[in-house]
Symmetry: C2
């Protein structure tokens, strides 16, 4: 970075990838609206930009010599101060980011997949080379949730994070609830509107939300977690029927990402405390702040020791929202304030001995379960007895008129350890009068 005139700092950006997000960032930098240099005293210049296709028409005008098809020339360019990586995926993004860091350049990236699976390696490299990695753009588009956790809420011991972190699945679930359409229909609509990709696996299987949760947990709990430590379930097997029953019971179904400190419990089944890290569909009371997050929006609800509950909400993706976050990170890196993220050795040396990830079976929750049973006397009694034998008590029950040969029995339980609940479920499923595999969902209060 160079100081050119009185008080003005120039920062030269090397862009890796010129797709949707890269174009958004370039538009903001080149359009100069807002007048960033007036507001921040920092002039951002687009110095080099790598793209595979030099000939492609673009909605921004670049100076001659900026565009290159040689990615390595961007990260090795001594004229580049900050490298923005928006190629996505693992390679070559990983190798290019490592090279940039080794060259002492700070990095800004929207690549949650890479950071959630290779975070330790990358943040360690940043620390070793006194550079920073900005990743505001990787979670919730332009909603400044990374900044909030890192700076605004720094004086809090974070107790929990609950998030709706994937717009595609939230759109699908919103359609299922509001239009009573099936998962398949809603997915088809999402694909038609450009909200879901042709292969929607990363979204609907909860993987994308889990990548983002890793990054939020890293910041909130001051450690580098890995995607492999999370329990992840998607929405691809969610039945319309369960969305409807949940609604009757006063609950919304959301793909919920949870990171929560758990104190040692009284229950001897439980682990001695630690961190829950999980992504799965869940029932949320309709009065819950996250229950009303509709369509492609994202939201993060943070509970901090001093601040109480804080929610940030907005559009989770898209060219301009993500571009907004990237430019904010560039300015952050230029000021040097990004440098404090994971730049203490202890984040790597002491991998949360005091905060182990709780295995999924040891999680405490309430449960929603639907059994399909034969319509004959004594069935409800049998079910309740087995659940009771395993220490699962019932909070409410819905039993409707018979549908064809079977009756759906829907039960909301009180809190229980998940492995106890699963044992009860396994025993129930051996009963002769059970007609279809049962469906179960966790309930968040």
């Amino acid at each position: 970075m160079s100081k050119e005139s009185a008080g003005k700092k120039v920062v030269r950006v090397g862009l890796l990838g010129f797709g949707v997000v890269g174009t958004g960032a370039a538009k903001i930098i080149l359009d100069s609206s807002p007048p960033l240099v007036d507001v921040t005293g920092i002039e951002v210049r687009l110095q080099r930009a790598y793209t595979r296709d030099l000939k492609k028409a673009r909605p921004v005008t670049l100076k001659p010599g900026v565009l290159t098809s040689d990615a390595l020339s961007v990260v090795n360019d001594p004229e580049v101060d900050i490298v923005v990586e928006v190629i996505g995926g693992i390679e070559p993004a990983r190798a290019l980011i490592l090279k940039a860091l080794q060259n002492g350049k700070s990095v800004v990236t929207a690549n949650k997949h890479l950071l959630a699976t290779h975070g330790k390696e990358l943040f360690e490299a940043a620390l070793a080379h006194n550079a920073s990695i900005g990743f505001e753009a990787s979670v919730c588009g332009g909603v400044p949730v990374i900044g909030a956790l890192r700076d605004g809420l720094v004086a809090n011991r974070i107790e929990s994070i609950h998030g709706i972190l994937n717009g595609t699945t939230n759109y699908i679930l919103t359609r299922m609830v509001e239009e009573q359409c099936s998962y398949a229909q809603a997915l088809y609509e999402a694909q038609n509107k450009g909200y879901a990709e042709a292969d929607p696996s990363l979204d609907v299987k909860g993987i994308d939300a889990a990548h983002k949760l890793v990054l939020l947990a890293n910041l909130a709990f001051h450690s580098i977690f890995d995607f492999s430590e999370l329990h992840v379930e998607g929405i691809e097997n969610l039945a319309m029927e369960d969305v409807r029953f949940a609604s009757q019971l006063g609950y919304a179904v959301k793909l919920l990402a949870t990171a929560r400190r758990r104190n040692p419990g009284a229950d001897p089944d439980e682990v001695p405390g630690g961190l829950e890290l999980r992504v799965h569909p869940a029932l949320l009371p309709q009065t819950h702040p996250l229950a009303n997050v509709r369509g492609v929006n994202n939201a993060v609800l943070v509970r901090g020791s001093a601040v109480g509950e804080v929610m940030l909400y907005g559009r989770g993706a898209g060219m301009m929202p993500t571009g907004s976050a990237i430019v904010s990170d560039i300015l952050d890196a230029a000021r040097g304030s990004a440098a404090q993220t994971f730049t203490k050795l202890q984040f790597f040396q002491n991998p949360r001995a005091d905060l182990p990830v709780i295995p999924p079976g040891k999680i405490r929750s309430r449960y929603y379960v639907r059994f399909s049973v034969e319509d004959r006397p004594g069935v409800m009694g049998k079910l309740a007895t087995i659940l009771g034998n395993h220490g699962i008590s019932l909070a409410s029950v819905i039993q409707h008129e018979p549908q064809a040969a079977h009756v759906p029995v829907v039960i909301l339980t009180h809190t229980a350890i998940e492995e106890r609940f699963r044992e009860a479920l396994a025993e129930v499923e051996k009963l002769p009068f059970l007609k279809k595999p049962s469906a179960f969902l966790r309930v968040e209060e």
Copy 2:
């Protein structure tokens, strides 16, 4: 600030005022939970603390010599790096902050009243002495809305800010809607719960919300506004009847703070564009994100050119939430990243020639109006004719059964310039069949 050991920076704080907020900040600093020094590399030390009553029992233990009853000794102490002002009010807070800035110390304050009425003087002094003023604690308690506008959304041209910025009035309005109680009853409850002061004027007259709106507008529109430029109305004359009618029409009534860019309109009545800056009760559609902000919570909805709509939500006040924001600002000042707020001369030299504050009469809005009329034929026609003659067209009408001698007629209009609407209202109010003064509220979409 001094560097003591490898990588650790020490910042020494002088606290002015040891009431509720000061105690919250001190607790966070002294309890060391979260371990701030590990996370940020900055050790915050409470060096001096001014209080009028040295003998008062406090829930924190201070080292001997920290407490003083001489406020000036805090701002003049060469051992103090950052001064935290939580005395409140104009004097002596203003004089002490100016002295601290003149001594080259950065200032952190929760004093919206002072900043909204003496902002120009104080931010100019900060600029002159190369110091910063942090004011995250002055708006929405611990919700990091100042940080979001300053850093996270920096790459946006802000189009509008809508906020519920006062917890007391939002609690009162929530009770009026949900419990059907009168303004007077709800206020009494708020006072009993400690949410409203014995003299609630600053809150219920909209003044506190207006102070906060000034600070948000300063950041969003890169200028120093003054409280006197705002149009402010409170909720103290709001009738239960209107809250109920609004609810029937699908609207919530909120004390809404609005700062919005307005492009030049087609209407010859309008000013050529500028900024709306106003606080008043308003009808919000029940689907509006701010309509569901309940009780003492606050929320800010920002619309930015790149990011679209972003909302931040949380508890707007209290010892620990406000303490959380103060400590975050202390760390910000210690890192030097706070220095960029209003430290460009142009924020003072060029007072928004391009963005004048639009006079209230020139604002465009929809309106809710309730007339109390005699129950006789032709009345509705007369009303509609007069409104129509002034270019006000009706969107919907409710006319109920007569209540005693008069009938309430409730009208929602389409968009109109406020002075045209007021002219129509004045003409209607001269009609002989009008029984009571009419009530009107603006409607936000």
